[in-house]
Amino acid sequence: MWEKRPVLLLLLATAAILVGTIVTMVLPFFWVNTEADAIAEVTPYTALENEGRDIYVREGCNNCHSQLIRPLAPDVKRYGPYSRSGEFAYDRPFLWGSRRGGPDLARIGNKYSDEWHYRHMVDPRSMVPETNMPEYSWLNDAKVDAAFAVRKMDVLGFPYTQGDITALEGKTEMDAMVAYLQKLGTDLPRTGKAADKAKGLRKAEENPLGGDPAAIAEGKDVYAGNCAGCHGADRGGNIGPELAPGDFEDDELFDTIADGLPDDGMPGFSRLGRDRIWKLVAFLQAE
């Protein structure tokens, strides 16, 4: 019968597609962004961060970078604690992405120093030698539009003060981008005392592999792949300090490598594991 009646076919087709739509697309609104998944520490974006977010969207960064850490061990080890619904309550649009052409950025905030980001955006290969990330040096030349930023904050309903807006004057798009990246994933408080975790991983005061030529050779490779960008290919220092043998004790080096120095822009490298960190320490202590 419906094969002879186009209006009936249209109505039946609409009904067929609405069932799944209502169950899987409409109903979740009663679970998500409610009290059930709210996280009190999560704050809206500041005017400068929001400008940065809009630039991130404009440049299509989400085509290569995800912002979603799955509750899977390798994801958590590489990128940090898994993402929770309440962390995204102010994200319009969401920017979870669908491909990792580059690393996930959900918790990139405070991992590196501002200086690292400025240099990396202008010339990515100066910090990560073989990366295929495009250059974004022109962001240094464009200024953010404070009047437009106010209108956007009003539409989003995010709080701001006159001081925030005055502070936008003279800021470049690069400043905004770095401010946004440094906010990502930093709302949740850091859990546990980092130093205790590193000691648990370390298990010894002195390097069990110290002076071992094979360990030093392997440590050199680990250094080239993880450290050379900031500390220089020859350990002479770049945006990170020079690392001369004997500057630090073995255990001090281990803990700093494992935990990083979050306030100084040094990321933690506990993902390398005890063995490789000791090899790295052996290399750093070798002449």
Partner: protein, 464 residues
Amino acid sequence: MERVDYNDSIVKGFVIWSLVWGAVTVLLGVIISFQLVMPELNFGPYLTYGRLRPIHTNAGIFGWGIGSFFAALYYIVQRLSRRRVWSDGLARFQLWFFNATIIAAAVTLLLGFNTSKEYHEMEWPVDLMIVILWVIFSVNAFMTIWKRREETMYISLWYTLAALVGVAVLFLVNAGAVPVSLFKSYSIYAGTNDANVQWWYGHNAVAMVLTVPPLAVFYYFLPKAANTPIYSHRLSIIAFWSLLFMYLWTGAHHLLWTPVPDWVETLAMAFSIMLIAPSWGVVFNGYLTMNGQWHQMRDNYLIKFFIAAITFYGLQTLQGPLQAVRTFSAFIHYTNWVPGHIHMGTMGWVSMVMFGAIYYMYEKMYGREVYSIKMANMHFWLVFIGQTLFSVSLWIAGVQEGIMWKAVGADGSLTFTFMDTLISIMPYFWIRSLGGLVYLAGVLLFFYNIYKTARPGAAVAQTA
């Protein structure tokens, strides 16, 4: 029987312009694939990967995909309704407005007016143009069917009507945004809700744009080209209604292991597996239609396109459900496996069925055989090989990424850095670019063949 004066100029118009946008999308695809291996090919601010990739996907889906569907559906709807299109003027306007919309989309995306939502990146003024375009087509197609001279609607018309309503619902809901200015808006949904709405749209755009209209095309042109009726009417009824019902539950398989509620993910996973049945219902209907006619794979170049297309569709609808399973998704999501998958659907299934349909329509509308069957065969092999190189290289790259990202040593440490992985898949990126170039060569050969077929007074250089 009385001869109907069909409006073929609108069909030809949409074919030509969809081919133009098809060339743009393949060329852009090749360019951005080279940007991934040679980052110095990014020329900011306009010609970066981040700005060009949305133009590639949208020119493909809306310019080539929807443009060529408009052509084929105008051809099919008129013939199955046994009457001329309801309004010639509206159809003509639609062609111009279609091009205006695609140009507006390309220019605004190049300028960075971008909502970030995949396959829906255009800002709200372009969204409005797309809505107007769709309403114009829907009215004209529906009125033609309404005033048809053939009482029973053939399968292709069911799919056409379903696409009209499906695309409208998806697009309007996902477009929900508050404008700040002419070219900046914010989604009305936030965070996890926004993600769930977007992938309800994203996956069902695959259904309502890249599955339902090309199935209408397949159901019409395979039996026509093979000169044999479709194998089973009953099977086509079951496949049609179950496909429409099941597809809409599956969007969240793009969001497995995310904060989207677990039960939504589980439903998406279950319905994705169930979708194998209606998808393969069509595949079997196609294969069994060829019962006793398989020699046409040798003798009839059109059948090669249609059977290869439906085979790619079959593989696509097995691979898709596999990827929608949590355990497999944990392994291949975020890797290059996924672009390998989607390109089998677009370059293999959708483009192949449309290539065949366009050859067939041009032969009928111009009343002569295609300019060169040899060239059409070469076109077939170039796109087939280009597609295979493209997808297989990315599947290998994706498996390698999956393994290396997850490799963990005995002490629980990650074995590889992100850069180790990226550097290791570069050879596959080069092979993918090569596949894209081979495919582009095939497409250009197709254009030439179609152009020569349509040229007034063309001397027919026919060889078997």
